[in-house]
């Protein structure tokens, strides 16, 4: 047995009374793709921060190539050859992609060379990245691609990836796996954090399972099944989704020939977008991020009220020019893709964040009934199994998945007539995702109209009664879920439906 590239021994990290990592051991061999599996709050992110030097452990040691290593700062980690793709992206909004990457490289290179190297690296790995675009116009998915390219450009010896496939088309995931295998074959070890069990089975050579901050199992994925992995991770198998036949009601939300020019020159203009969502059904919109999802969601939620009044109708009533609050009063609720900043105010408590979309705790003259507000927030925490210190916890202190459960819970709790959801389970683990899916289906069965915009096909197949695909600001015709296949949707993601925008350059990672 060769010397392990990375070995962690007895790593412990406490935050106050909470033990994030408890006596954790982890061994990664050279060229190994090692999965770290665990629920939200199981301590995966903290452990990765310890490896990357962003967090100092209270106890334990790190061995690099068999030698004890001091990883006190990210700088130390990078000097050893550790690169990381962050879950909460660490990009500078006002700078271009190339400038961002430039700052991440330790060697002295000219900016022009960086631009070229990004193009080359992106092409090599089938990642669609334009080095000259400023980061603030990029969607979450595009930002992640930038992070991946940046990490690869440093020629790392250990690459840490945190939920890297969440925002890729199936074809692009295959391509990414190919390249990750290629990277691993060249000797670089990979720490792969994911909650997608089938991906771990397909890709990884070894797997460490965390639960409640402790290592509960170390296994060879080749010997496991999704069911057995799931049992190790949450102690139970995920509940099966119960799907009943849809009972279609009248049209609740309709969009007719919606066209919107972009806000700034890097946005995606919407062209001729038409769709209908009936009461009692879930309609899904698939597509690679950055193809107009942000713009469509802004138009539907009321954040962007520039549409023709009649282009968007809620129960027949024109609402194209109505603001978000007005739409909410009429029964349309919205879960944005961006949790911190759009879905919640990071520095405010969960209870206070309730007030963003819910006014039940408001009394005459705008007084807040604090007790009622806390009760309301506690109710959502309990019903949707959110792990948080309580309604007084600051939104920023929750893990991504838990905050997502809270935000989805807040909107579901309002019993909306129409719910528009973006990326309902992005970065959420299996157990929590199954909960959110079950709740969305329950809402549909109760007669609400639900529109789900997601980049995860599996999720859309599990939920939607009908599917659209968005590509280059245009929307495909609807496809009954029964007729939808991964191959067909994958092709449509590149705009290849009859009358679609064809194969835009902007969407790489489609079928080659």
């Amino acid at each position: 047995m060769s010397v392990p590239r990375l070995e962690l021994r007895h790593v412990t990290k406490r935050y106050g009374d909470v033990v994030a990592n408890d006596d954790v051991a982890l061994t990664v061999a050279p060229g190994e793709i090692h999965a770290v599996l665990g629920e939200n709050g199981a301590g995966k992110s903290t452990l990765m921060k310890v490896v990357y030097g962003a967090v100092a452990p209270d106890a334990g040691e790190i061995l690099w190539d068999g030698q004890p290593a001091e990883v006190r700062t990210p700088h130390d980690a990078r000097a050893l050859g550790i690169a990381m793709v962050f879950q909460h992206f660490s990009l500078f909004d006002s700078l271009t992609v190339a400038e961002n990457v430039w700052l991440g490289l330790s060697r002295k290179v000219a900016l022009r060379d960086v631009t070229e190297r990004i193009r080359a690296k992106a092409a090599e790995y089938g990642l669609d990245v334009d080095p000259l675009r400023p980061v603030h116009v990029l969607s979450v998915g595009e930002r992640q691609r930038v992070e991946i390219v940046r990490a690869l450009l440093a020629d790392p010896r250990l690459l840490i990836l945190d939920e890297p496939t969440a925002v890729l088309t199936p074809q692009a995931v295959d391509k990414l796996f190919e390249t990750l295998r290629q990277v691993a074959a060249s000797g670089c070890s990979i720490l792969y954090i994911s909650h997608k069990l089938d991906e771990i089975l397909e890709l990884c050579h070894a797997c460490t399972v965390l639960r409640g901050g402790r290592v509960v199992a170390t296994c060879d994925p080749a010997q496991e099944t999704t069911a057995s992995l799931s049992r190790m991770m949450i102690g139970a198998e995920p509940p099966r989704l119960e799907r009943r036949a849809a009972k279609l009601g009248p049209v609740a939300l309709s969009v007719e020939r919606l066209a919107l020019p972009c806000h700034d020159r890097f946005g995606v203009p919407l062209e001729d977008v038409s769709l209908e969502v009936h009461a009692g059904e879930i309609v899904g919109i698939a597509g690679v991020s950055g193809n107009g999802q942000q713009e469509l969601l802004a138009a539907l939620s009321g954040e962007d009220p520039r549409a023709d009044a009649g282009a968007i109708r809620l129960f027949g009533e024109p609402i194209g020019r109505t603001g978000a609050a007005g739409r909410r009063r009429r029964g349309l609720h919205f879960v944005p893709e961006e949790r911190l900043g759009r879905g919640a105010v990071p520095s405010l408590s969960l209870a206070t964040n309730m007030l963003l979309t819910r006014q039940e705790a408001l009394r005459a003259f705008g007084w807040i009934d604090r007790a009622a507000l806390r009760d309301q927030a506690s109710g959502v925490l309990r019903r949707y199994w959110v792990k948080a210190a309580g309604p007084g916890a600051v939104a920023r202190s929750l893990s991504g998945g838990n905050l997502q459960k809270y935000i989805v819970g807040r909107e579901l709790d309002a019993v909306p007539k129409v719910l528009v959801v973006a990326q309902p389970t992005w970065g959420v683990d299996v157990g929590a995702a199954a909960q959110i899916h079950a709740e969305l289906l329950r809402l549909r069965d109760a007669g609400a109209a639900v529109l789900v915009v997601s980049e995860e096909l599996e999720e859309l197949f599990a939920l939607a009664d009908r599917l659209h695909v968005i590509a280059k600001g245009r929307l495909s015709p609807p496809l009954p879920a029964a007729d939808a296949t991964v191959e067909r949707i994958g092709e449509w993601m590149s705009g290849l439906w009859a009358g679609g925008p064809g194969r835009p350059e902007a969407v790489a990672g489609g079928p080659a």
């Binding site: 660490s90 500078f92 700034d264």
Partner: protein, 306 residues
């Protein structure tokens, strides 16, 4: 014609200290630190510069002392704000008040003193050209230095990696820290550099522009320089433009008063300040412009590892 040339010349002279001070403040704001102590730094450096020039007998000694004084006050401010995480606004105001009191106290002995006569400045050959000669080429070297500094700062911010890093830190210190950069060290360096530039501006006021020391002689120019950074949406070339605009309006109103225009002088004296407010209001009409240029972490403390 000749009058216009003199007006232009006066404008450049009046705009120069604003441009240099504004540029210094722009650099530390780009790193995410807003220094409301500008007025105090200008006053301390003005008295330091005057004292050094008077006692040492050399203008350049004055500028050196001014830069050192500004940098010293900025270093105290930076130590408090960057390392001890005190509130930037409160600390800045305190520095401002400290500076005016301290400079008045230290400067008592220099009130009414005069500096030795300086020979007039002339750019060879060009100074003799009609009109443009008196307008543009008979200035103190520091007037030209201001322009060179602005060009250098623009090059630094947009063409060098160090400048990019400075902007990145102002944008998101957390991300820069995650990439392994010493955020506090760089912020502190930016604050001290900004202080040194303010110091040069202060020395210019007391050594060249006025040239004498009077208590409170900076007369709000520190605040105007702070407003200039917003006016310029944190871009160096616009600092220069704003400084000359402000200097021009100041000179124009003096000029009009001298010509006996029938408007109460109080209203005329308001003109530069009113124009500052008007321009700030106009700039705020374009939110995207502000969003793209304003350092996102401006005024916020940074705790590494938090």
């Amino acid at each position: 014609m000749n009058e216009l040339a003199l007006l232009i010349a006066a404008t450049l002279a009046a705009g120069t200290p604003l441009a240099i001070a504004g540029l210094g403040l722009l650099l530390n704001e780009r790193a995410g630190v807003v220094n409301l102590g500008a007025e105090g730094m200008l006053l301390v450096s003005a008295v330091a510069g005057f004292a050094a020039a008077h006692d040492g007998g050399s203008e350049w000694l004055g500028f050196l002392a001014g830069a050192a004084g500004g940098a010293a006050v900025a270093a105290v401010f930076g130590w408090l704000v960057v390392w001890l995480n005190t509130n930037q606004y409160a600390t800045g105001l305190a520095v401002s008040l400290f500076g005016s009191g301290f400079s008045a106290f230290v400067g008592i002995g220099y009130v009414g003193k005069q500096l030795g006569e300086q020979p007039p400045h002339r750019v060879p050959f060009l100074a003799d050209l009609p009109f443009v000669g008196p307008a543009l080429f008979r200035h103190h070297p520091v007037v030209y230095l201001a322009i060179a500094l602005v060009a250098a700062a623009a090059y630094f911010l947009y063409r060098t990696r160090a400048g990019l890093l400075l902007r990145a830190i102002g944008e998101s210190p957390q991300s820069a820290h995650a990439l392994g950069y010493g955020v506090r060290r760089i912020r502190f360096a930016a604050v001290v550099t900004g202080g040194a530039l303010c110091g040069i501006a202060g020395a210019y006021l007391s050594v060249v522009y006025t040239p004498l020391w009077v208590e409170g002689m900076v007369a709000g120019r520190g605040w105007i320089a702070l407003a200039l950074t917003v006016f310029a949406t944190w871009r160096p070339a616009r600092i220069l433009l704003g400084a000359y605009l402000f200097g021009g309006v100041t000179m124009l109103q003096l000029h009009l008063q001298a010509r006996g225009v029938h408007v109460p002088s109080q209203f005329m004296a308001m003109l530069p300040y009113v124009s500052t407010i008007a321009v700030l209001a106009l700039i705020s009409r374009n939110p995207l412009w502000i969003r793209l240029n304003m350092p996102a972490s401006l005024g916020k403390p940074f705790f590494p590892g938090a």
